[in-house]
């Protein structure tokens, strides 16, 4: 294995076999880790989703009973509806916020690095700390937000106490920590070829036309990527609402799919049921991602193609 004398791959069979063996040997730690900690649990969870399984007792095969019960479970549908509604509003809201911020932070002014850092910082705040801080800010009685609203003569709602306002409040919090998406958009913006803007200027385009016809089309692959990641993230939202209220209070308006899954697995000891929920969510995410890819085909422009 001399490092300094690279050899062309030998065509002889025994050599190829030896190289394969060496390669496998090097990949072995990963293969073992992958099989033991990822592949096996994944495969087992498919099996368990067809079992009555409490973790403490051996699984008992019961066919599709878990799936049948889920379809009849009102709370399953409630949590799915809550999650769908949240994703439906949170993904556009976070996307719009992140793109707007990225456009603003792409301007060429003094001290830009400091501004960029400032807007990225919220993404570094641990979710639990963020949830607690927002709990105080959104408080219906003494919250900062309602205090500010009160100064302009608006009586703010009890954000986290009113079932009609709790989901919008959560979307608001989500839109506050879009740093990661913002940085990716910013990188995308800096990749837009300058000559396209110059051409647009020569044609007398306004800033809106430049945005609509140059910036957004050139940014579209990045938008697609972020939207898909956003959909996956929003459908799996857990920490933030769980810290706010583990029961999805008020009146289960903040009870999301993953919270019901967690409760089934670790609080109600219904691991098989929870596994079934996990696989249903997997199918939903795959379907949505596929739809997003299909729908975007005509609207996404790849610079390389």
């Amino acid at each position: 294995m001399a490092v300094d004398s690279p050899r062309l791959p030998s065509r002889s069979g025994s050599n190829a076999r030896r190289e394969t063996r060496t390669a496998l040997l090097f990949a072995l730690p990963w293969i073992i880790g992958f099989s033991a900690f990822l592949f096996y649990p994944l495969a087992a969870s498919i099996y368990y989703s067809f079992c009555d399984y409490s973790v403490l007792r051996p699984p008992v095969y019961i066919g599709g009973d878990n799936y049948r019960d889920l379809l009849r479970d009102e709370l399953f549908w409630t949590s799915l509806r809550n999650t769908g509604l949240y994703a439906f509003f949170a993904v556009p809201a976070t996307t719009a916020t992140a793109i707007t911020l990225a456009l603003l932070l792409n301007a060429n002014i003094r001290g830009m690095a400091a501004y960029r850092a400032a807007f990225f910082v919220p993404s570094l705040v641990p979710l639990v700390a963020m949830a607690v801080v927002w709990q105080y800010m959104l408080n219906g009685q003494h919250g900062v937000l309602n205090d500010l609203l009160g100064r302009v003569g608006v009586r703010g709602p009890d954000w986290l106490g009113d079932p009609n306002w709790s989901k919008p409040a959560l979307v608001l919090v989500a839109a506050w920590s879009v740093g990661h998406a913002m940085v990716i958009y910013l990188a995308g913006l800096q990749d837009v070829p300058r000559q396209l803007y110059e051409a647009a200027d020569l044609d007398g385009a306004t800033w809106w036309e430049r945005l609509r016809s140059v910036t957004l089309p050139m940014l579209s692959p990045v938008i697609l990527f972020n939207v898909i990641m956003g959909i996956i993230g929003a459908l799996q939202v857990f920490t933030l609402p769980y810290v706010l209220s583990s029961t999805g209070s008020p009146a289960r308006s903040l009870y999301f799919y993953t919270m019901y899954l967690f409760d089934n697995a670790f609080v109600y000891h219904k691991m098989g049921y929870a596994c079934a929920m996990g696989w249903i969510m997997f199918v939903v995410i795959v379907a949505l991602t596929f739809t997003a890819l299909k729908l975007s085909e005509r609207h996404v422009h790849y610079g390389g193609s």
Partner: protein, 464 residues
């Protein structure tokens, strides 16, 4: 070594050899001089407990007393947060602790999952029996006819009220409300609103502290379970209780109450606590509340007592329900697969003795679950109402969580019902009918699955 040294200059080699010799000699001398620690012949057992702070110190004191009392067993106490999940995983993985502290309401669920060791034979041998305990606490550890847990510190609830506020609005601070109707009237007097309708203080609210949303039906004589295979969530008594809750939303405004509640702060153990800062005049609380009053609201205890506890009111037309109290207990269990069950029980026996129990309960500021109480216990107890909290659970009207394995799921469902009623999303009737329709099939399915597991295990056992 020698090959490596060959290349060195003689001086260096000599230094190295000398150093090696010095190290070797010092090791030899230190081994000769040092006194080896006495070999530990004691059996070490692990004990997982959930308490922290002063409650953690209390159990540590009992563990230390046990460790000092004999030289055969040593208990290693470990404070574990989220104990129910960790116990589940450790037991499933075959490495449970020897003793674990659990809540009584989780015992049926853990027994259904075969996670606990029955204690009947060991109790019989040690002479521990129902006559040693206040019945409601003994029953907390018994499920399907076998003993699985023994109580450690119990809790009973009572109406706590703020005497200073009673005086302020012209109520007699020594005359607590006796009936629900009186409670409502007193609450109205104690409630204070600003002209714009914003609440400044409430006399009484169901959502505070908000820990027993399932319990209100029992105050009206209702039950959640028929003792066999039917839930009775929408029985007339429960409906009446939720009508009562809804009446507060109508009277004070659902949104006002909710906003007020959110302004009370999220931390129970802090001066922000609604009862401690005088924003909630009356609430249902447990025997432990005294500890938090002393710590976070000393102004309520000095110079004169500004709070009091009394039996929770009963409906005026149901005097037979007087003295009702919600009880629960922390308890100890031996998980299935524990390595030293006998030594574990030896420790439990010490803990359950009058001496061990009174030490623990005194330090935690609670009453004892035992049927015998020493006079010193009362004499030294800091809670002025300790006798009330000890006597209430002996009443026939005392109640506890129904012993069913599906309890955690049922509890969460009832919390949602409470909020739906409080926020006027559903009428009490509709909310209770809905939850009954949803949970009854779940309960039947739960029972069916337990039977399935037992059949499957029966087959494996026969197969062997």
């Amino acid at each position: 070594m020698a090959a490596a040294l060959r290349g060195l200059k003689p001086m260096r080699a000599i230094t190295l050899y000398t150093l090696a010799a010095v190290v070797a000699v010092s090791i030899w001398i230190s081994e000769r001089v040092a006194v080896p620690p006495p070999k530990d012949y004691r059996v070490h057992i692990t004990y997982w407990e959930k308490w922290t702070g002063f409650e953690g110190d209390a159990i540590r004191a009992v563990v230390d007393a046990f460790n000092r009392s004999q030289d055969r067993i040593h208990v290693d106490l470990l404070t574990v947060s989220g104990i129910q999940n960790k116990l589940l995983l450790a037991t499933a993985g075959g490495t449970p602790p020897d003793v674990a502290g659990l809540w009584s309401y989780l015992v049926p669920q853990y027994v259904d999952a075969r996670a606990l060791t029955p204690l009947d034979e060991r109790c019989a041998r040690a002479g521990i029996g129902p006559e040693d305990y206040v019945p409601v606490y003994w029953r907390a550890g018994v499920y399907r006819g076998a003993i699985y847990a023994l109580p450690t510190t119990p809790g009973s609830t009572a109406l706590h009220y703020n005497r200073a506020l009673f005086r302020e609005v012209g109520l007699d601070p020594d005359r607590p409300p006796r009936t629900i109707e009186e409670l409502d009237a007193f609450a109205e007097k104690l409630t204070k609103k600003r002209p714009d309708g914003k609440m400044v203080r409430v006399g009484f609210m169901h959502a505070e502290p908000g820990w027993w949303h399932w319990a209100w039906g029992y105050m009206f004589g209702g039950r959640l379970w028929d003792g066999r295979d039917r839930l009775t969530l929408n029985c007339p008594e429960n409906l009446r209780a939720y009508e009562w809750i809804a009446s507060y939303s109508r009277k004070y405004g659902a949104r006002n109450l909710q906003t007020f509640k959110s302004g009370l702060g999220t931390l129970f153990a802090s001066p922000e606590n609604g009862f401690l800062c005088g924003k909630v005049a009356m609430e249902i609380q447990g025997v432990w509340m005294h500890n938090f009053i002393s710590k976070y609201a000393p102004q309520m205890t000095k110079p004169t007592l500004q709070w009091a506890a009394a039996p929770f009111p009963y409906p005026a037309d149901r005097p037979d329900l007087a003295g009702g109290t919600m009880t629960e207990a922390d308890c100890v269990v031996i998980p299935r697969g524990a390595r030293h069950p006998d030594e574990a029980f030896e420790f439990i026996r010490f803990l359950e003795s009058q001496k061990g129990m009174e030490l623990l309960c005194l330090l935690q500021g609670k009453h004892t679950p035992l049927s015998r109480v020493s006079p010193e216990f009362y004499a030294r107890h800091p809670n002025p109402y300790i006798k009330l909290f000890y006597e209430l659970p002996r009443n026939r009207t005392a109640f506890a969580v129904p012993p069913i394995g599906i309890w955690p799921e049922l509890r969460d469902a009832l919390t949602a019902v409470f909020e739906e009623v409080l926020l006027e999303q559903k009428t009490p009737k509709q909310a209770l009918d809905d939850v009954q329709a949803r949970m009854q099939p779940k309960f039947e399915e739960y029972l069916r699955r337990i039977r399935l597991r037992e059949q499957a295990e029966g087959r494996t056992h026969r197969g062997r």
